[in-house]
């Protein structure tokens, strides 16, 4: 009996010792959040403007970023020899990254969206992790690079998991293992946090070093301003400069269709119709129009720009003949001229030539003239003329 009591007492003591020593994941996260400063002060932060120095490929240059409480992010940085712009509205985003061998804006892919969720955070994902729908699991106490850490698994709402290593003494983050991107391709990454400084009672890592593959990226923050005015327009993906030139096409139009009478040597009105032209993607414009030029023509025309060929392209799908016509051309001196080309990889000139000229461009009107040539472009004959006038709202 005495022995049983002894064992029971020992077991009880062990359990008590374990309870008092072992912290729950919530307790660790609470200490972690407290280590970053008063929660009520964090609650007052709506936005922050970060300036500093960013190192990529061993070259240091200026860095600028905006973060907002609702998960928006915008930054301008130098990546090697190129200027890179990144923007994220909390769900989707865009970037201009000349390393991808084009200079126009593009949308972020899924892997990148996950990266920008991380970038947009006010330094720790544990700030409001429950409200944000994230889950956490305590992996345990470990030693990383000689430092005692708590390893915590974070499961984001998008299903991505991260492992955070919090310094067991300071409860500040030491390391994160997460998915990152290298040239838009998903890769594992390690991020290290250092140089914690206090600003207005908030503790923030001023040094962040990230390694993925053989890449090494270092951000040394120099200054942080809280609650700055944020221009919401920066989160909207801009059009490429070339497509922006075709913005005159966008709208709902009333269209007068003139056909050319060779015998009378003059235009005659063939039809009055309407057209809608709009962006169907950031760098793609589409027109839907139906008009009568003896036969009923129902066309869909897409306008794009090939940066590799430095030319505009259009493809017109005819609902009348079920044929496709491809054209390419340039925009010069307020006139947009397209010529038909062979369809396929060989974009040399087709034998029967058609030229589409957009001219007389104003804010509320433009004229599309379509001409034909039977002598390889030496002479052009008028065919159809469409005069566009913007419809009132």
């Amino acid at each position: 009996m005495k022995q049983i009591t002894k064992y029971t007492l020992t077991s009880l003591l062990l359990i008590v010792a374990l309870i008092t020593n072992a912290q729950t994941v919530d307790e660790i996260i609470t200490r972690h959040r407290n280590a970053h400063g008063e929660l009520k002060k964090w609650d007052q932060v709506e936005s922050m403007k970060i300036t500093g120095r960013f190192t990529a490929f061993s070259v240091e240059d200026d860095f600028f970023a905006i973060k907002t409480k609702d998960g928006k992010y915008y930054s301008e940085l130098k990546l090697g020899q190129f200027d890179v712009i990144e923007a994220f509205n909390g769900e989707t985003g865009w970037t201009i990254d000349p390393w991808q061998e084009f200079t126009f804006p593009r949308e972020l892919n899924k892997s990148e969206q996950n990266v920008f969720l991380q970038k947009a955070e006010f330094f720790t994902p544990f700030y409001n992790y429950k409200e944000n729908g994230c889950e956490v699991e305590l992996i345990g106490k470990q030693v990383v690079d000689g430092i005692d850490v708590y390893a915590i698994k974070l499961i984001r709402t998008n299903g991505h998991t991260e492992t955070w290593y919090l310094d067991a003494n300071t409860y500040l983050e030491y390391k994160r293992e997460s998915r990152w991107v290298d040239f838009a391709y998903g890769v594992p990454a390690e991020t290290y946090f250092d140089d914690f400084r206090e600003i207005d009672g908030l503790i923030i890592p001023f040094l962040t070093e990230k390694t993925f593959w053989q890449r090494d990226r270092v951000l040394q923050i120099e200054n942080i301003e809280f609650n700055v005015d944020v221009d919401e327009n920066v989160f909207t993906m801009p059009k490429s400069a070339e497509i922006e030139k075709l913005a005159f096409l966008i709208g709902n139009w009333g269209v007068r269709v003139n056909a050319w009478s060779g015998r009378a040597n003059r235009w005659y009105k063939a039809d009055s119709t309407s057209s809608t032209i709009d962006y169907i993607a950031t760098n793609l414009i589409q027109e839907k129009i139906s008009f009568i030029d003896f036969f009923v023509q129902s066309n869909i025309t897409n306008f794009g720009y090939s940066s590799s060929e430095s030319k505009y392209f259009s493809t017109t799908y005819s609902g009348f003949s079920s044929e496709i016509m491809m054209m390419n051309g340039v925009f010069t001196d307020s006139t947009f001229v397209l010529n038909n080309v062979k369809i396929g990889c060989d974009t040399s000139q087709a034998s029967i030539q058609i030229k589409a000229t957009y001219s007389n461009i104003t804010e509320d009107s433009f004229t599309l003239g379509i001409e034909q040539s039977g002598d390889n472009g030496k002479s052009w004959n008028p065919w159809v003329q469409l005069i566009y006038g913007r419809m009132k709202e």
């Binding site: 490929f57 061993s58 020899q81 690079d145 053989q214 890449r215 090494d216």
Partner: protein, 410 residues
């Protein structure tokens, strides 16, 4: 009479010894080739007896230098390296050049090729480090021209264009392999067609001694080492390791689990070779016994990108991507990690690491697995610094893409 005879005999023996020494391949003194006297990043000099807490590094000189990544090779009071000059956005030249070790003043320069322009913006000019020999310096340009210039005045004695002569394809980011000399044979990774991946040249006139194997030109440099009493040249090319004698006979080959190494193979102990790259696994250690190579350890605790490690007493010191680390070669375990040097470089002098950050900060660190212990650090040079330091006559020499500098550490 007996004393006179004794002196005569000693004089005679000294004379014979001297003549015999000259008739053999006499290796130059100093930091005369890539990664130093033994191509292992280790100086044979001493850095002991210095009170580091009271030491302030003295800038001996700092000079402008054209773009290039070649190390500063030094012998007999003269620095030899590669430099370049840009004329306009599409024109420029690469030079092998000589400078006074004490002043940094240029003694001569000799044009060896047009400049290699790097399309990714990493930096223009030569990537390879020249090697100093008795009378000539051998250099390898970014476009793949192997040149022999007179040490005295830079006169170009002979030159071979690898692309033209051997059908070599220029690797992305240019030719980078550094030449080595074994038994009077100038040995190069060529990457040519028709079994001309590796070649030995007569160093006097550039004629071909031998050629062997197939493989493209890489960015790696060969190790010259004595294993099992045999002097051999070891190339890491593609996913394969090759060992040759100086006459081109293949001693052994080994299929590596990774490829595209840039860091030079490192001899550890007497018959083991450490190889590291940035992919997985990060490193392997192979053991050579009777011309058979066997893997004895692999791990991910050390992943070298372009910077090579040094080895001392059972531990490898080097860059795990961008973190300076000490790793046991017995277990692969990390003894310590230090961040903040970026993708820098390092060499070892005595029992001290000379660590250069990728932004030109130089630190002297104890080469011990106990802990990262920094003895002194200072900003030696500004801007991107991817070239490892050199050490000669108690002084450390550093360069980047625009300048070079010499510091006295004692």
């Amino acid at each position: 009479m007996e004393i006179k005879f004794k002196y005569l005999l000693i004089t005679f023996l000294i004379l014979v010894n001297t003549i015999a020494g000259f008739s053999q391949n006499t290796k130059p003194d100093g930091w005369y080739q890539f990664r130093g006297p033994n191509r292992d990043g280790i100086s044979t000099e001493s850095l002991s007896g210095i009170n580091w807490s009271e030491t302030k590094p003295e800038l001996v000189w700092k000079k402008e230098l054209g773009s290039g990544f070649a190390e500063l090779t030094i012998s007999d009071g003269i620095i030899y390296t590669m430099t370049s000059e840009i004329v306009d956005s599409i024109t420029g030249f690469e030079y092998v050049a000589a400078f006074d070790e004490n002043t940094g003043n240029e003694l001569w320069r000799s044009q060896v090729d047009s400049i290699y322009f790097d399309v990714d913006g990493w930096g223009n000019g030569s990537r390879s480090t020249p090697i100093i020999d008795e009378n000539q310096i051998y250099s390898f340009s970014g476009h793949g021209k192997l040149s022999a210039n007179s040490l005295k005045d830079g006169t170009l004695n002979w030159q071979i264009d690898f692309v033209e002569e051997f059908g070599t394809t220029t690797p992305r980011w240019g030719f980078a392999s550094s030449p080595t000399i074994v038994d009077d044979v100038l040995i190069m990774e060529v990457g040519g067609t028709d079994s001309r991946a590796f070649m030995g040249f007569n160093k006097k006139d550039g004629s071909i001694n031998w050629s062997s194997e197939n493989g493209n030109a890489s960015h790696d440099s060969p190790l010259a080492a004595t294993i099992d009493g045999k002097e051999q040249i070891i190339f890491a090319n593609g996913r394969k390791l090759f060992s040759f004698t100086s006459t081109g006979d293949t001693l052994w080959t080994y299929n590596m689990p990774f490829g595209s190494l840039t860091a030079i193979p490192i001899l550890i102990d007497k018959n083991k070779i450490f190889l590291s790259g940035v992919r997985t696994p990060g490193f392997i250690i192979i053991e050579i016994n009777g011309n058979t190579a066997t893997e004895v350890l692999n791990g991910n605790s050390m992943k070298n990108d372009f910077s090579s490690c040094v080895y001392r007493n059972g531990y490898i010191y080097g860059y795990h991507v961008a973190a300076l680390r000490c790793v046991s070669v017995e277990t692969g375990e990390v003894s310590w990690t230090k961040r903040g040097f970026g993708k820098g470089s390092l060499i070892m002098v005595d029992d001290k690491l000379l660590v250069l950050s990728d932004k030109g900060k130089l630190a002297v660190v104890k080469a011990t697995p106990d802990a990262y212990t920094e003895l002194i650090s200072f900003q030696a040079i500004e801007g991107k610094s991817w070239t490892a330091p050199s050490f000669n006559n108690g002084k450390v020499f550093v360069r980047n893409l625009t300048e070079m500098a010499c510091y006295n550490l004692k």
